[in-house]
């Protein structure tokens, strides 16, 4: 696909903005495509509902806001409730399993097969805690995303992590990425949709 619209949403403090930044950076700097991110700013980025909007495309991106997201990563119930209905038919919704209860009827389901919105759940926070710190749940989700949709290359994501984070945090974040990526690969081959 030549254009991806991705919304990452949750609470301030979950690394929502950083996740959007890393995704955009992987695309723009390492995959050499166009990428644009607009984000919540101010108090909302530091506590309450928070989101980042990323567009990745082969062509220059003029209008920088999402019109119909291809992908939603929901890290809170509120984010899921608010944004899941916007996701394009045939799109992808990834939820933090322990923070989001996906109530039926939220997703657009315009017929069988390719038009259904695909929903995958991952206990990203729990996986992150097992790796050493819950703070990397956002990177676990990025790994999960990378395996489930060809938005950016996994190598680009790894480079983005290496070049953006403090030295002491790189190893843990790369482990988080790999853990999420592996879970995504398994989910994909098992067609493990919710």
């Amino acid at each position: 696909m030549s254009r991806w619209e991705v919304k990452i949403a949750g609470f301030g403090g979950q690394g929502i903005i950083l996740a959007g930044y890393l995704l955009g950076k992987a695309a723009a700097v390492y995959d050499r495509r166009h990428a644009t991110m607009v984000q919540s700013y101010g108090p909302e980025a530091r506590g309450s509902a928070c989101n980042s909007q990323v567009i990745i495309a082969d062509e220059p991106i003029y209008y920088p806001y999402l019109t119909e997201p291809d992908v939603l990563i929901a890290m809170s119930q509120e984010a899921y409730a608010r944004f899941a209905p916007e996701v394009k038919p045939g799109g992808l919704v990834l939820i933090e399993r322990d923070l989001v209860a996906p109530d039926a009827g939220r997703l657009r389901d315009e017929g069988p097969g390719e038009d259904t919105v695909r929903l995958y759940a991952l206990p990203a926070t729990k996986i992150a805690e097992e790796l050493g710190h819950r703070i990397v749940a956002n990177i676990v989700m990025l790994g999960f995303l990378c395996a489930l949709a060809p938005i950016v290359s996994p190598s680009g994501m790894r480079e983005a992590v290496r070049s953006s984070l403090p030295k002491s945090a790189i190893e843990l974040n790369l482990m988080a990425f790999e853990a999420g990526y592996e879970r995504g690969r398994l989910s994909r081959s098992a067609d493990d949709r919710v």
Binding site: Y21, A28, A35, T36, Y41, Y62, Y63, P64
Partner: protein, 385 residues
């Protein structure tokens, strides 16, 4: 102290404010004085981090009046200097901005616009300072103002702003907005040797022959720096070629006309526009900053519906591209001007159209960008008149 390169050649994913700071450094800016204000703070933040790495000076001042004063002083010391602010700070800078035009002091002032008036909407977008940029300081003068539409242009146009300010010896304004300041995008920084740099004309002749305000053929006088040994008198009063106050109608006529003419005569060198779909257009969208990108989406929607719509993006807003607008007014049906204010650039468009084409403003007072469909509705309206 940690040293770093002035030009960060490579591909980056950075926001518009950071790109602006990097553009300034690449242009040779080595002095920044400012007071933090949303949504321009990241420019100061980046400059505070980066200027010491390249041997420059960053000062956080007590307010914006002091900030622009320090910038003007730094320029007279021979250093390329910049400040960055938003609406409330821009208002405070107005008196000394005029001092900058009167004393022909090269420098760059960035305004990352938010919703106003007053403290307005600190974190949300606006484009309400466009006329203030043109007329905000008292008296008659011409200015140069550029309006970036992307993080890449925050880099590119900051370099262009420094080059224009050095070439024509005046404060150059970058009229950005909160969305473009905070948008994070791919920014390509070229190798240092590929970045064209303009430096102010220097006077190097004998001290006794130096006249600080004696213009050359291009109407721009060569400059010296404080400490080089030349006798320089700098005043905001109307002055003669020596720089001495001369409060006569004759001196006023010569000086004030020249200050305007050095910009007007070079309008073609200064003005940059970007156009799409103009070949067959009968309706033309005229926009700048973030609104130009929203308008582009409206053009795509309208073209898909069979409308013959053109898109004109003002990269240079002041001096206003009168010549191009007049040409277009003679052959198009209407101009549509979406902007995040209650009608500022729309007035300029209407003035140039002079009744030969309709001007349809699509206005929002700031806080959020347009929905492209609002602009599309105006295109439909224009197509049916």
């Amino acid at each position: 102290m940690k040293r770093g390169p002035a030009v960060l050649t490579g591909v980056h994913f950075i926001n518009g404010d950071v790109a602006c700071a990097e553009g300034a450094l690449a242009a040779g800016c080595r002095f920044f004085a400012g007071y933090p204000i949303t949504p321009a703070t990241e420019i100061a933040e980046r400059m505070a981090e980066r200027l010491p790495e390249v041997g420059g000076t960053f000062i956080q001042m007590e307010d914006e009046i002091a900030s622009i004063s320090a910038v003007l002083g730094a320029s007279w010391a021979g250093v390329k200097a910049m400040t960055a602010t938003s609406g409330p700070g821009f208002s405070l800078m107005m008196e000394n901005l005029g001092f900058g035009y009167m004393t022909e002091t090269p420098c760059v002032i960035v305004n990352v616009q938010r919703g106003g008036p007053s403290t307005g909407l600190p974190t949300l977008v606006g484009q309400g300072d466009m006329m203030q940029a043109r007329w905000g300081s008292h008296g008659d003068y011409e200015t140069i103002a550029l309006a970036p539409s992307s993080a890449q242009e925050m880099f590119d146009l900051t370099i262009a702003a420094f080059n224009l300010s050095e070439k024509y010896r005046l404060p150059v304004l970058i009229m950005s907005d909160a969305v473009i300041g905070h948008i994070t995008e791919r920014v390509i920084i070229p190798p240092e040797e590929e970045i064209p740099i303009v430096n102010r004309k220097r006077f190097t002749g004998p001290r006794e022959t130096y006249l600080p305000y004696l213009p050359e053929d291009d109407l721009v006088p060569p400059m010296v720096a404080a400490g080089e040994g030349y006798r320089v008198y700098i005043t905001g009063l109307t002055h003669d070629e020596r720089g001495y106050p001369s409060t006569s109608p004759d001196a006023q006529e010569r000086l004030v006309r020249r200050l305007a003419e050095k910009v007007r005569r070079n309008a073609r060198d200064i003005i940059r526009l970007e156009e799409r779909g103009m070949e067959d257009a009968d309706v033309v969208l005229v926009a700048y900053g973030i609104s130009a990108r929203v308008a582009y989406r409206a053009m795509e929607l309208a073209r898909a519906a069979g409308r013959r719509v053109g898109w004109l993006r003002l990269i240079t807003v002041w001096p206003f591209p009168e010549e191009r607008l007049r040409e277009l007014a003679a052959r198009v049906r209407a101009f549509i001007v979406p902007e995040l204010n209650l009608g500022q650039i729309a007035r300029e468009v209407e003035r140039c159209a002079a009744g030969r084409a309709l001007t349809i403003p699509v206005l929002r007072p700031g806080g959020a960008v347009h929905d492209p469909r609002e602009i599309l509705a105006a295109i439909e309206e224009a197509s049916h008149v």
